[in-house]
Symmetry: C2
Subunit: 337 residues, 2 copies
């Protein structure tokens, strides 16, 4: 085994888009494993829009990553060395391992994952993880879908959005997705079963939404914000629910971004908009994993992972989220399992 | 009794502020009272921010007033003639009587009000009416205040806001009001018992709010929108509730107005914003009237009415709402009881 580790260090807070010099990949010696500790080798790293929030100093749901610290990130890994009673060499674990080849842990915040027959570890990152839990609790708990209702989801070919639409279908709703390419639109309608898809780069989103949602919009699962969100708000129904899950269109904005012009429609339609972050549901992750796993085995749910090879390409992976290059969950493969 | 009626007719939809020529006061003969009908003489007319919404053609919670029709408005009146079994001459009634001296009704949507000893009919318009019910259901049902929480209310010296703060105090909360003059600020703190008041015309609202809400903001009762709303959103706590009751700052705007720049904080704080219109609670008005009446008799609630004399001054009354000239509920006195 190597004696060296590679780590992505946050050097400065990005202004607007992440610049190359905001992060640096450095080599450091592997740490000693103390009593009660374990060393994990990262296999997959999850890159997520929230990484961009953690790089900034804005008041968020977690403290900003300190300048000079290893960049925070969710990862899947295998225990290499354990001096902790709860973990053994070879265990599959997930947690906030960070952007690095190896990390030391005292076990806190680390989840030991089962090796399920027939379920590749990619599924653990693309569906049976925070990604799937976000779709599950956001849509079901905050959105409260009822049969026959219309659910709109933005970033619909993304990790979370693609699952939201499928759960909406399972619940008997009409699912309409907004995505950024014809290929993505085809995937979510033809493979995933969305009722309609809108390519926001080539279509008039408002007109297309009006056509795709003849009975109006009952639930908006909002991942994007900005103009697209405004179009949705103009079409919401009485007592609509807006699951405010992400605002990726503005995470890179160097200046404050105005909120929706159609705010008044939330008042007129007595709609409810609620901010949602999946970590609040930590004590119910088991429920979500069981249900999502069952739907997966029943063939009711599909997921897609978009894997970029090599820790050195992590920054490129994050940029793909903001340019919309990824289809499905963007992962970085760091080492073989 | 006179044989003539005066009616305010909507001639054109205002663009921006209401122009004199958008409405016209005309004289028309009193209508005949048919079988099953009654004629009501208006005593007080309520002018409300929502009047401005009804004049526009925006998709609202009620259809726009038709061009050429009598302007819609809530009023208090006395039955002059009745050929309806449910009402007798002399009954006190309230409903959407419109901007006119007299109106004909078939009784639908009309409420017969008790003549309570010691309760002037002004109270029926300033507290024991939609005004009070809006404060009551908005704060208690949507806001769900808990003892010790901080409640911020904008337009705090207005009809609804002044009652919201007092109910917040009754429920053991810290009440902070935002208003437009030192006189209003003094009234809500010294007479109504608000813990703090901010004059948005002379103070830095964000800094003043931060000082007045040392534990952050748990509930925002929003009547105004715009910059003030943005300042509030920057200070909301985890799981804050935003009762979206009105957006008076933008009803006169001729151009679309951007929503709050601090929208992202609703996500970060997992806050809930909910649109609210009191008419949805019609079947619970009795509950609110009983409770508000009890608090009034116990000396726990005060209200203020700002009465302008004469139906011909109705438009001036509406303008006072937008300039912030009124303190408490703006009424038009149309005739003696």
């Amino acid at each position: 085994m190597t004696t060296m580790n590679r780590q992505w260090i946050l050097k400065s807070r990005p202004e607007g888009e992440i610049a190359d010099q905001d992060l640096q990949l450095v080599e450091t010696p592997l740490p000693e494993v103390g009593d009660g500790e374990l060393l994990v080798r990262t296999t997959y790293l999850s890159v997520d829009p929230t990484n961009r929030i953690w790089m900034s100093d804005q008041k968020g749901y977690m403290p900003p990553v300190e300048i000079g610290a290893v960049m925070r990130g969710v990862s899947l890994g295998v225990v290499e060395t354990s001096r902790h009673r709860g973990f053994a060499k070879g265990d599959l674990v997930s947690g906030l391992g960070g952007w690095q080849d190896f990390y030391l842990s005292d076990g806190k915040g680390l989840s030991k994952l089962p090796r399920l027959p027939g379920v590749p570890s990619e599924a653990m990152m693309g569906l049976l993880s925070m990604v799937g839990f976000t779709a599950y609790f956001g849509l079901l708990d905050i959105g409260q879908p009822k049969e026959g209702e219309t659910v709109v989801v933005s970033a619909a070919a993304g990790a979370v959005g693609s699952i939201v639409g499928q759960i909406a279908k399972i619940k008997g709703c009409r699912a309409v997705g907004i995505a950024g390419s014809d290929e993505k639109c085809r995937w979510i309608t033809e493979d995933l079963g969305f009722d309609a898809a809108i390519n926001y780069k080539t279509q008039d989103v408002f007109e297309a939404l009006r056509e795709a949602c003849p009975d109006g919009i009952d639930i908006d699962f909002e991942n994007v914000g900005g103009d697209i969100f405004d179009c949705v708000l103009r079409l919401i129904n009485f007592k609509a629910r807006i699951v405010l899950c992400g605002l990726i269109s503005q995470y890179n904005a160097p200046e404050p971004v105005p909120g929706p012009y159609a705010l008044g429609n939330i008042l007129m339609q007595r709609a409810r908009m609620e901010g949602f972050i999946v970590t609040d549901y930590q004590d119910r992750y088991g429920e979500a994993m069981t249900q999502l796993g069952q739907w997966l085995q029943e063939g009711k749910l599909q997921y897609k992972v978009d894997v970029l090879d090599g820790l050195e390409n992590t920054l490129e992976g994050v940029r793909r989220l903001f340019s919309g290059a990824n289809i499905g969950k963007q992962l970085i493969k760091v080492s073989d399992e």
